[in-house]
Symmetry: C2
Subunit: 336 residues, 2 copies
DNA sequence: CTGAAAGCGCTTACAG
DNA sequence: CTGAAAGCGCTTACAG
């Protein structure tokens, strides 16, 4: 492997000079610069990031921490988030280390103490997430991709689920719907206080009450595919319901077929509105009026906040909720 | 940060001695060993992996290379694979770097030249995959997670789609089915020669011909959700067809509702058999007789092959096809 | 069994 | 504007 020493010799300068043209941190004459660049090109030099990291005590790697939670819950959008995170990190010049496993707190500690990472993005935030304390203790720059009841001052970026819930309920109310079914996640997700699940549900309940909508909550358990059983049961159990709110990716995917199977036309017989990641919505051609979760916007924002923290340009604790994008696909009907 | 020097001083030994007890590469008296360990614990020492990597010219990081391909194709199982890969790498003591983006060849080159990675797993292999040449040129230990027509001697690990296709066709033949519909991936996936798509299809066509089954191929385009339109059209277009083979995750998810919507009972009216990742099958409770792609087995095998290559224990080029697991969920009926 | 010393490939005050 | 030198925190022949 060709080193900075080889380049220096080839260009007839010192290692320091080569290093300076590499970093641009020190004024070097144009002539010398060109000579060095020519030498680098000729020898095919690339910097050894390990050596650089040791010398500078800095690493350009960010961890993505995705815990393993037991149960059958399978996130269909996980790939989209990981992919977007990796791309966003690269835009800022960072590599991404994937930290997954049951003992994620230990993984974080090891990565920090082993000087492998400069910061971390935490996925799947639950209330009282144990990783919050770990990050604080390690003084690790961190951004929660998801809100928690008590983030202990750590910055977070997430979809504004409260906004989505509020807008949905008000729109349904304006359209004259009186009884609405909310298809949610498996009960288990609420039990472990998965934050996005809880927040959306609570806000929806609260708004429904304030506008006089009867909101029926159905937890899509994992015993059937895409919550089709629950949706069907809800249709029978709540015959007065005129609309469905779906906050569950698998249920959104299955809904068109379930409705068709029940002989119901959307929106003539039943109205539907969902909140779902845009990547799934686009890739799978979701045909419903929805609030599309802007995965790239969330991820880009989170990475920006993280990088500012790492580079000490942090302007206080950032807590950002990104509004999902409303798209009217005509699946809501007027009832009054 | 506490260094090996601090530990040495605390224990009253040299840095070399500390290093030896750390690695166990040199016999050290039990007494000294204990003293050193006590000092490490007392000071809270952890090795600086950057320094170690520089000294040994070794890195314990493996890249996962997932290209970005244009189009709306959205892989529902991507998250499962990434997660499994990360866990598998950790079992072998490796970290995983996520390498995604449009210019993945350059990303690989940069990662290798920057001495960031010791090897790589390549995802989404297509025939004539350009990354194959890149890896060969860099002499980078690599495992293709997917087969290509010409792997140029590089090891690969993949699901045995040929086996799945053959078994399916023979089983359908044995059950007396004469005309079968194969629901595949979007045409685009075949156009870019996505290997798993092509291999399964070709083998199925070949076997069907040999056993006298008429195989109708339907490409699930991405214009409708879960291929429901295509499935429905196929039901009308091929009224003689008595069975469906589904090789398309989204279509598998949607199929129960589509069938229900068409008023068809499985398997009384129509037989269904699928090949789908087990993580999706389990998480989403797929109700069909299937060949379940064993994501963890494939990933563990791939990682094992890669690590052996990195550690020079490679026993020649490995080309491994992992048989998917057959599960009879009773969705095939006897026709003769 | 243990230590002194050189080296891995960079960066960065410091001096000129 | 450029270079000599020290240093980042490890590992590893080598000598004893």
């Amino acid at each position: 492997m060709v080193t900075i020493q080889d380049v220096a010799k080839e260009a007839g300068v010192s290692k320091a000079t080569v290093s300076y043209v590499l970093s641009g941190s020190n004024a070097i004459s144009e002539q010398t610069t060109k000579r060095v660049q020519k030498a680098m090109k000729k020898l095919g030099y690339s910097v050894n990031h390990t050596a650089r990291a040791l010398a500078t005590a800095k690493t350009n790697t960010i961890a993505i921490v995705a815990p393993y939670r037991s149960g059958n819950f399978f996130s269909l959008s996980r790939g989209a988030y990981l992919y977007a995170l990796s791309n966003a990190a690269r835009k800022f010049g960072y590599d991404t280390l994937l930290l997954t496993g049951e003992n994620d707190r230990q993984l974080i500690v090891d990565a920090v103490e082993g000087r492998k990472i400069a910061g971390a993005i935490l996925l799947d935030i639950v209330n009282d997430d144990p990783r919050i304390a770990t990050a604080k203790q390690l003084k690790l720059p961190v951004v929660l991709l998801g809100k928690a009841d008590n983030t202990q001052g750590l910055p977070y970026v997430d979809t504004d689920f409260e906004y989505a819930a509020e807008m949905m309920i008000h729109r349904l109310a304006a359209f004259g719907h009186k009884e609405v079914v909310l298809i949610g996640w498996p009960q288990e997700q609420y039990d472990i206080q998965m934050n996005y699940a809880v927040r959306f549900l609570q806000k929806a309940l609260e708004c429904a009450q304030s506008v006089g909508i009867v909101l029926r909550v159905v937890y899509a358990n994992d015993e059937t595919l895409g919550a089709s059983t629950e949706i069907t049961e809800a249709l029978c159990g709540y015959p007065q319901a005129t609309a469905f709110i779906i906050h569950n990716d698998a249920a959104v995917l299955a809904a068109p077929q379930v409705m068709q199977g029940c002989g119901l036309a959307v929106p003539d017989d039943i109205s539907i509105i969902t909140v779902v990641p845009d990547q799934i919505a686009t890739g799978m051609k979701i045909p419903y009026t929805s609030f599309f979760i802007d995965v790239n916007a969330i991820v880009d924002t989170a990475m920006d906040v993280l990088v500012r923290q790492i580079q000490q340009h942090n302007t206080g604790t950032e807590t950002i909720l990104v509004k999902p994008n409303f798209a009217d696909l005509g699946s809501l009907s007027q009832k009054n």
